[in-house]
């Protein structure tokens, strides 16, 4: 790998770290510097002044914001997010288990949706402007227009309640075997797949079409190469990077989709944990979960960019 390429990658990594830091500032600021007193917001309008004062001390609200931020950040980097206001539980412990569950769910959704999206994208390109393409476009337009929870409940109503194929809530615990777990998460995985499939497929289609319309594909065709050789030797090497980029961006999107899907199926993951504690105004938990979601999102976006840099022949083989 040429040195200036390494430099570009390092630059992008540095930018990623900077973004992570900046987003942590935003998340911290979002919960601290907004109008209204945080302690008041947590305890509600009817709270006594003493209770508020106690909570302020407990939350360290009397210290300056900068030192509170630094303390929080250094803790977070070491996995110490403090304790939840509502039940005093250690946030780091709760998160580690739930993060595992969420990643388990996201992983299986990715395993199904990524190959499916690429396959459908290829089919759409192969039958461009004919009925398979139109059907796929119409279906993706429909799914993009519908919120996740609608897809979720429609599936739950028909598949779980009417047909009774799978349970309507997705309980998961350590004593379950892998098969049991998979059966339990079948519905949320299907719903998540639907949520990202449409986007991923449309973007894959566009990425491949973009390559297929390049003049060098015409050159290859005019060399008398077979359709197969044109695609494998000329189109594929140039479409891998854009497709991987599409996949990465959609995985980032999937991580956010998880939040709603977990709530629908009462799945014990990060998303439900976050939503529960937003309602309870448990700020340390919200900060911790928000930071983790944002980090995963930023890292996946960064990965997409780095793949784009490394795959660019102009950068790989400089003049």
């Amino acid at each position: 790998m040429p040195s200036h390429l390494i430099l570009l990658v390092i630059q992008r990594l540095a930018l990623g770290v900077l973004l992570l830091l900046a987003s942590s500032v935003l998340i911290f600021a979002g919960t601290q510097i907004l109008p209204g007193d945080v302690a008041q917001a947590v305890l509600g309008q009817s709270a006594t002044p003493e209770a508020i004062a106690n909570l302020r001390t407990e939350m360290g609200l009397n210290e300056p914001a900068v030192s509170r931020y630094l303390k929080w950040l250094f803790g977070a980097v070491q996995g110490d997010f403090g304790t939840a206001l509502t039940n005093g539980a250690d946030i780091g412990t709760s998160i580690s288990k739930r993060l595992g569950n969420t990643l388990f769910l996201a992983f299986w959704a990715a395993v199904i949706s990524v190959p499916l999206a690429i396959l459908l994208g290829l089919i759409a390109v192969r039958f461009r402007n004919r009925w398979p393409d139109r059907l796929i476009s119409a279906m993706s337009l429909a799914t993009i227009s519908v919120p996740e929870f609608v897809i979720g409940y429609v599936f739950m109503f028909f598949v779980a309640v009417k047909l009774r194929w799978v349970p309507s809530v997705s309980m998961i615990n350590d004593s379950m075997s892998l098969m049991q777990k998979l059966q339990s998460i079948a519905l949320p995985v299907i719903v998540l797949t639907f949520v990202v499939l449409a986007h991923m497929m449309r973007m894959t289609r566009a990425a491949i079409l973009n390559v297929m319309e390049s003049p060098y594909i015409e050159t290859a065709e005019l060399k008398g190469l077979s359709r197969f050789a044109v695609i494998t030797k000329h189109a594929l090497p140039n479409s891998v990077a854009p497709i991987v980029n599409v996949v990465m961006l959609n995985l980032a999107y999937l991580v956010v989709g998880v939040v709603v899907v977990e709530v629908i199926f009462v799945y014990p993951g990060m998303g439900q944990y976050l939503v529960d504690h937003v309602a309870k105004r448990d700020i340390p938990v919200v900060q911790a979960a928000g930071l983790i979601f944002a980090s995963v999102y930023i890292l996946l976006n960064m990965a997409a960019d780095i793949i784009g840099i490394v795959a660019n022949p102009r950068l790989r083989h400089p003049k």
Partner: protein, 549 residues
């Protein structure tokens, strides 16, 4: 009839080509773009296909590969290659034809090469996929072709990636790619059009040499008759998908029969008689230097020029010579770093923001791309009327009357008032831009490559119009161009620019007369002349290599 076919490498009869036009919001519509063309080409001969944009020349060229771009398809006629009607070929037989018997060189080799593969892999690909020879043999062939085409370091040239070599080199590499499988026929589709003038000639010469050495038959497609005259044995003139005239190159150039051909032949013959300079200069540049932000060198270096009333100064040079930057300095878009620009004897503020409305009015500009020089959401009346309103406060009937007057001057007329730019042809758009500049009653108009995006005949019309208007309005022009034929047609004084410097400056009669400096000689010698054998003369007498090699 069969045996008449076998004499010819290519025989096309009654070729009709159609396309489907997709206008958004309307039903797709079928149109015919080539209406029954016949064409013959003997083995080892070169046929030039010439015509303006929309003549159907590329489409006909690609039809010999039974290939149509986008929605284009062959709707009628027969195409015989070596006596076989390729339109009756199966897909497998077509693959056998493409890349083996017929190969293709496109206008933009930069886009035609796969960016992620080495040049050698792409050059030998046809040989290997058609199993013509071993890889080693194919690479040897490629290296021989690289050498023949004058590519640097032919042994290792193929190891590079497309973005690592220059445009002129890529065009040669694509020629090598087309010749590598030793085909019977090569289609050259405007192979030198996208190159700089001085580079174009070298590439053209090496293509010609390669054609002669390999004895391959070729169809050479271009809009430039002078170029095709250098390489072809026969020429076919096309217009709107129909043949206008066909003959030997000599006959077409020296004895054209049809009016359209005659017009094409006489394109570069317009010559404006130089008028002597009188009066104080309108615009004067003294030791002007300028650079873009972030650069540590000057793009325009110590330039001193004058433009006199009712005269045309042509600034000529290739891309990167600094000629367009010079225009930006004069308009104040790029404030100069050193020197002064004076207008009517007074020094102009360097930056646009500091100039007075009157100073802005007297210096107008016309652009290369007329389509993007006009707001697509404004009518022609608004576009031409705005300067009248802005500078002279004209309103209502008075303004409209003046707009109509200007429309008459540019030979368009009142019916254009309510039209939008998208409804106009390229030449008409450029005329509107001229009218907009004239509306300000300027003393000087900067014309930045105003004819280079236009078809030759249309460009000729624009040049004649500009000359006429100069007589009527007594306006001076600063004409920026890379094309010496344009310079001959319009200039009184000429400045030749090379790498930011003015290397030659003076009245046209002096600048275009020997003795020349090396660069002016190169530039002058690079303008294709409507003359057989011109290319060989030029190549043998050149003193300097072109920049693009």
């Amino acid at each position: 009839m069969r045996d008449t076919v076998t004499h010819n490498l290519v025989e096309i009869r009654g070729l009709k080509i159609g396309a489907t036009v997709f206008t958004p919001g309307e039903k797709p519509k079928d149109v015919e773009i080539v209406h029954g063309v016949d064409l013959n080409l003997e083995k080892g001969k070169v046929l030039g296909l010439i015509g303006e944009s929309g003549a159907g020349k590329s489409t006909i060229g690609l039809s010999t590969l039974a290939y149509g771009r986008g929605g284009i398809r062959i709707t009628g006629g027969e195409i015989f290659i070596n006596g076989v009607d390729i339109l009756k070929n199966s897909m497998g037989e077509l693959r056998d034809l493409r890349g083996r018997k017929v190969t293709y060189v496109s206008q933009s080799a930069a886009a035609g090469f796969n960016p992620s593969k080495r040049l050698m892999d792409q050059v030998v690909e046809s040989c290997l996929s058609h199993k013509l020879c071993s890889r080693k043999e194919a690479e040897e062939r490629a290296v021989r072709l690289f050498r023949k085409l004058g590519l640097p370091d032919p042994e290792n040239f193929g190891m590079r990636y497309p973005h690592q070599v220059s445009g002129g080199q890529l065009q040669r590499a694509m020629t090598a790619m087309a010749l590598c499988p030793e085909p019977d026929l090569v289609i050259f589709d405007e192979p030198t059009t996208a190159l700089d003038v001085t580079t174009q000639i070298d590439v053209l010469a090496s293509i010609k040499e390669a054609i002669q050495d390999t004895g391959v038959g070729a169809i050479y497609i271009t809009h430039d008759l002078a170029v095709v005259a250098q390489v072809s044995d026969h020429i076919m003139v096309l217009q709107h998908g129909r043949m206008v005239e066909y003959g030997t190159t000599d006959q077409i150039i020296n004895n054209p029969q049809k009016d359209y051909t005659r017009a094409l032949v006489s394109i570069r013959s317009t010559i404006h008689d130089e008028t002597p300079s009188r009066g104080e200069p309108v615009l004067k540049l003294d030791n002007v230097s300028a650079r873009y932000r972030g650069l540590n060198f000057d793009v325009v270096k110590d330039v001193t020029l004058e433009i006199h009333p009712s005269q045309t100064l042509a600034v000529v040079g290739e891309s990167g010579s600094g000629k367009s930057t010079l225009a930006r300095v004069m308009t104040g878009l790029l404030p100069l770093r050193q020197g002064t620009v004076s207008f009517n004897g007074e020094t102009l503020p360097a930056a646009l923001e500091d100039r007075s409305k009157e100073q802005l009015r007297e210096l107008q500009m016309i652009y290369q791309m007329a389509d993007v020089a006009m707001n697509p959401r404004q009518t022609i009346e608004t576009i031409i009327g705005r300067p009248l309103e802005f500078y002279f406060g004209m309103q209502g009937a008075e303004k409209r009357a003046r707009v109509i007057e200007l429309l008459d001057e540019i030979e368009l007329g009142e019916s254009f008032l309510k039209r939008y730019p998208a409804e106009l042809s390229g030449g008409q758009k450029q005329r509107v831009c001229i009218a907009r500049a004239l509306a300000a009653k300027p003393r000087l108009i900067i014309c930045d490559e105003v004819t280079s995006a236009l078809d030759p005949l249309v460009a000729d019309g624009i040049l004649k119009l500009l000359l006429n208007l100069q007589e009527i309005e007594h306006v001076s022009y600063l004409f920026i161009t890379h094309d010496l034929a344009t310079v001959r047609a319009i200039a009184d004084t000429i400045a030749v620019m090379y790498q930011g410097n003015v290397v030659r400056y003076g009245p046209k009669s002096q600048v275009l007369e020997p003795p020349f400096d090396d660069y002016t000689d190169l530039l002058l010698s690079s303008v294709p002349e409507m003359k057989l054998g011109w290319l060989e003369d030029v190549i043998s007498t050149r003193k300097m290599d072109s920049a693009g090699n």
